[in-house]
Symmetry: D2
Amino acid sequence: MPVVEFTPSREQYVWTFGGAEPVMEVAPGTVLRLWTEDAFAGRVTSPDDKPSQVLNPKELNPQTGPFYVTGAEPGDTLALHVVSLTPARDWAASTTIPLFGALTGTDRTAGLQTPLKELTWIYAVDRAASTAVFTAHESDFELTFPLAPMLGTVGVAPALREVRTTLVPDYFGGNMDTPELRAGTTVYLGVNVEGALFSIGDGHYRQGEGETCGTALEGAMDVTLIVDLIKGHAPAWPRFEHDDALLTVGSARPLEDAWRCSQVEMVRWLVELYALGELDAYQLCSQLCLSPLANVVDVNYSAVTKIPKVLLPEASPFSGMHTSLRSQGAMLA
Amino acid sequence: MPVVEFTPSREQYVWTFGGAEPVMEVAPGTVLRLWTEDAFAGRVTSPDDKPSQVLNPKELNPQTGPFYVTGAEPGDTLALHVVSLTPARDWAASTTIPLFGALTGTDRTAGLQTPLKELTWIYAVDRAASTAVFTAHESDFELTFPLAPMLGTVGVAPALREVRTTLVPDYFGGNMDTPELRAGTTVYLGVNVEGALFSIGDGHYRQGEGETCGTALEGAMDVTLIVDLIKGHAPAWPRFEHDDALLTVGSARPLEDAWRCSQVEMVRWLVELYALGELDAYQLCSQLCLSPLANVVDVNYSAVTKIPKVLLPEASPFSGMHTSLRSQGAMLA
Amino acid sequence: MPVVEFTPSREQYVWTFGGAEPVMEVAPGTVLRLWTEDAFAGRVTSPDDKPSQVLNPKELNPQTGPFYVTGAEPGDTLALHVVSLTPARDWAASTTIPLFGALTGTDRTAGLQTPLKELTWIYAVDRAASTAVFTAHESDFELTFPLAPMLGTVGVAPALREVRTTLVPDYFGGNMDTPELRAGTTVYLGVNVEGALFSIGDGHYRQGEGETCGTALEGAMDVTLIVDLIKGHAPAWPRFEHDDALLTVGSARPLEDAWRCSQVEMVRWLVELYALGELDAYQLCSQLCLSPLANVVDVNYSAVTKIPKVLLPEASPFSGMHTSLRSQGAMLA
Amino acid sequence: MPVVEFTPSREQYVWTFGGAEPVMEVAPGTVLRLWTEDAFAGRVTSPDDKPSQVLNPKELNPQTGPFYVTGAEPGDTLALHVVSLTPARDWAASTTIPLFGALTGTDRTAGLQTPLKELTWIYAVDRAASTAVFTAHESDFELTFPLAPMLGTVGVAPALREVRTTLVPDYFGGNMDTPELRAGTTVYLGVNVEGALFSIGDGHYRQGEGETCGTALEGAMDVTLIVDLIKGHAPAWPRFEHDDALLTVGSARPLEDAWRCSQVEMVRWLVELYALGELDAYQLCSQLCLSPLANVVDVNYSAVTKIPKVLLPEASPFSGMHTSLRSQGAMLA
């Protein structure tokens, strides 16, 4: 396996899906060892930082990439296998950003109330123990809990000539913000433009489902990926595969539509895998699926449909791509 | 512990929360051994049954109850501990009901498309093995998977003189349709009227999160509950407690509002349990919570916020009510 | 025409649709001269009144009624023609109620922000000139504008044994809060229970479309109605008729579903009136309709679809009921 | 006044807001005489045309433009006054596009029902009489009704480096699809990039509020505009001015959020015009506004808040820009 390392300089940070020149071309089968800055572009560093003062609204969620994948054409399926996610710092930051988050009015759920107070929590991270320490602002409460590293953002360039900010999750992946995107996950994304032009970013050392306050334990991340390509078979919405589960991710507003997208995608997948009738697949999904929310704060909300493999007959999604990448990844560890 | 057994006759089925005479008065501390008919009122029995022909729209989701709890007053908290849920039949039924379900237009998400085909799936249930067999309509696919018995519906009489059908989930509990309401769960509900007037029903032998097609593996259920009462402390939204988790349930439309209700309720609970500032609790919930959907098909949608106890400092919610009921329940088994 | 006058005493105020004993039986063809208290039950009277202090949450939106209509059976259509609406006071009140209204978080769009400040505006009303005077709180701005009297609430008892508070708009009418319900309007409501059990209330001397802050120029109202009955033909959602327009009202959340309900009802009405194919009616409605919002603050939101009669071929909806009632009403003036 | 005429060749059609080279630079004060192709890019011409066969999904809603406005900088306000809209053909087309429209499942409100039948209606247009003839598919019903020409789409390049398809309405204007954008309207849009880069398109000879089926009486249009520029004062959402009304347009999902955006923008405008306190403006807007829907079918839904000037004290929004442009426009007629 060819192995490529890449750490972007500050000038190489990318703020959009589509619209940016690729940093390099990679062949299917390539291993990428990447570093990615946190979603604040590294600007939140102290519990005294106020997001409205230190953040640059034009420079949020910097991406590492985009990468041009040799041979990728519209209609193909990009497979990205996350081999490992390793926190690159011994601290992480989370904040309340004015008029952003799920339990406040926003630019769209517009209102007249005073924004919530701006607070920043800096978590001390013990990478060896894989834990973080929460320190309360309004009392002397402290709590240590385990890390659960994940990537908030993995996406390809959109279709229809669009360029979207990296704050957006949609059919092209993007800022899905789901804890299900972790080491061991294979992400399948439909290719919309020549070369796919994928990028990654938004490392979370841990995040609850829904990302309620709008930010996770944001931190720079070391990421090892294997890139692969399946000709054709582009799914309409992102599909993920774990060793023990099949997952689909929908992104839309209102939240029920995000979930509906993920459900219809799962029904399609079951139809494909087991040659089921559509209503039989609908019935099966209704009884077997888990539905863990991803984010309820971004430009689109994201919802996941997940079926444990143990409940289903054996199958080889995308001709066994996940199994193959998983064993390649194991050799790298 | 006093033990009361009750199996309603067909004439005793109840179709509303509020508005029905109690079947009996029970003192806090009482064990109830109940039987409840399935949500179809037992009318769907064969794969050839068409819901539009066999169902009576005025007789759906029959409840066992309501029970008048001695001493319960508005503002109190009813605690219901589910000791056991045992399928009472060796089959279960699920269907597509015209213009009901998540992947179709409905009476509210109104449209002009032709309804989905009406199909009924009858699952063979092996109670000893605790499994069910799915049999496809459009192919010869069969699949056996485990049961996961739960109650779709547990509720008290609403406030403001209202009477609601048992199809509705809301702040008073009701048709929440979450797999989290299973044996071992303690449900805390705010009391709105003298005696609380709670009832239960809608046994599901298994259900996916979201209940996509609108119906689960519907089946009659033997239910053992312990009833208890906490003076005051009524939560705004239903709270659940498991041995290993705290949970809150919100019900509303659109789905994000259901989830927001559950999140704000969890924030309140964390504030109470740990004397946290509200924004500190918001931050903590944002990083620790799970958000498994309940239903996206009922009159209101329902969403769950869940925090594993292992992530939190020790606490005794409602003065240790769950622990106490759990040990009482263990003695019954 | 028999004429009945009725002014409820305070003890006769009714707080629900369904669940209340009728105050009297009226035969189709009866003229009712009614008085109805304002939505605050008369408790907001001064600019210094804070809703959270003076209002009783169990006593909002008092109804005058319910009236049992002789011969009305489920499936029939109640026709209520509003002959006149006359403000019964020379002042009106409007307020910001904490966590109620469209530009604030609410009990369902739940959040953690501080509620908006509670303010009460008392409007001086000149009944002869039919104007009201707005007086600002935070500056010396004053503005006089015309009254446009309307009823926020007209409804019948719901189906399925339900009892709903008078704060709810739904298929049974209720708290629709649309300025389209004014003198000259005929309201058609499907009958759900014997006698229909309709009531009216919530006089608004004027209201914007959407009722943004949650309250209009609330004031007691003298109401003259003619009651009539059409056997069968119950519409699924309320229909209104003006001299110059056909209207339908849908109520649901999110707002698009409220509007969809009103649109599908209008499509049905066009199909009935002109024997159109459903897709032809869909096309016609798409090009001809107006869509003025009603409320975006109540338990359900309400949206109106309206087609000017001048755009349509002549027709006699409900066999000319509106025309007939209109001329009867003219004789009363 | 400099007058510039421009009719794009087919190769000059533009499919995005942002991302396209300007066709020319125009100075503030310029009169533009433009032609714009219909939203189908002219591909639907016969009642036998099926959209899924004749349309190119990558070539919908062609724009005329973009125009680089001399001196326009981020934070400025572009003023576009529509002097006249003249149908450029004697027919117009409307269709049902599979899984697009308000009364059907869509790509986001995803489901499993069969799409609605694809039908195309070709309207005969009498430009002298300013009428169109509807011809039913499923009966011999015909109906002649007046034209009401409008532009579905007027927008500038977005912020944050984004490029959006011309199917999207948002804070930058775009595909708002409101009948309020007609001859006599001045549109105020915040400038996001140097030169503003505005374009126009999507002529509708008539459209109902909501654009229910997803398409209006689509037709090529001759458009006369005057372009002007206000330094600073960029509104957050599009503002319109008529001779007799102030209007704001919000675009989002769900529909209540679109409306909330328009309402908050109107509250801000009232605060600016009359030096009102924010809650006083909220109250005033609540009682005076009209809320005609725009579209409930596009990528975002759009809603309008509108206040008749006759209800408000005299004011000179944007220093009398509309009045000035109106009189310039009158001289052109």
